[in-house]
Symmetry: C2
Subunit: 172 residues, 2 copies
């Protein structure tokens, strides 16, 4: 798929087929995240790839809107240093997420981020050490409604360009 | 360009040709950022697109490694609500940056982020109000060294996948 089309068409997918992802596709998704740029090339992340349905179900209970993780074929928890250390940590994590989700979309795989509101419970569930932190996990899977892959973007889903762009100085 | 190729090949470009971008390409870049997903679809950003060389030169002095902005054909300052409000603000900004930079790469346009270390000076320069904040601006332009567009990724530039991936639980 072309970059322009992927960016224009990608939508959030929260309901997935009960179908495993090919291992090569899982690796392609993770590799895309690995390739993202980061401040000073620090690559401030570890990826915890989860395909165990029990762990996904438990993780889905640790966020108010994280239920879609329970039905995902793959969850990717993005672990970072403490986000309070510097703003660039979550900025970089966002870039890695965007790369993973676009790479997935290119393979016909939908995705959605979930905020983990109970990070210390997630730490216990996933066993990661004190120096790593979780704020977000991504769900991946083949869309239950395959039309989601080709539907035009919803109108009104994003602000108009003129409503958020200024030229050279604010207000112009 | 295919998504996979763009993600694999995109590299930071910091030295640009002295050549303006086509207006349709500027709009394509901004539109890509506009399309990025965000927590609760809040779209927590305004884009300040800068092609005035004097403003770019002044902005380039407000960060230690921001010199590349002075030679850019286009700078895009990403304005957000106060990043201290919630981690998702800069996570979302990172996704918008990734989309803009991939869309640019697809058009043969290089880019690089710059940290703005003196945000209050930037506020004065760019004239944006108190409720908006700047941490980062992106440089865009045609690479001075056009081979950068087709060079293979530098080996050792990113950690190996096995060094940052765990399966189902930390350490496995």
């Amino acid at each position: 798929m072309q970059v322009e089309e992927a960016i224009r068409m990608k939508r959030a997918v929260r309901v997935f087929q009960d179908k495993r992802l090919k291992e090569e596709h899982v690796r392609a998704i993770l590799n895309a995240g690995r390739r993202a740029q980061s401040a000073k090339n620090q690559q401030p992340w570890q990826f915890l790839a989860i395909d165990d349905p029990k762990i996904l179900a438990d993780l889905s209970e640790l966020g108010t809107y994280a239920g879609h993780l329970a039905g995902a074929a793959l969850g990717v928890a993005i672990l970072t240093p403490d986000p309070a250390q510097r703003w660039s940590i979550m900025f970089d994590a966002g870039q890695a997420a965007a790369y993973m989700q676009l790479a997935a979309w290119d393979l016909g795989i939908g995705s959605c981020p979930a905020t983990i509101y109970q990070p210390e419970d997630a730490r216990e569930l996933l066993g990661f050490p004190e120096e790593w932190h979780i704020r977000v996990a991504l769900s991946f899977g083949y869309p239950d409604d395959e039309e989601e892959l080709t539907q035009a973007p919803a109108s009104g889903g994003r602000k108009e360009l003129d409503a958020l762009t200024h030229w050279n100085r604010w207000g112009s």
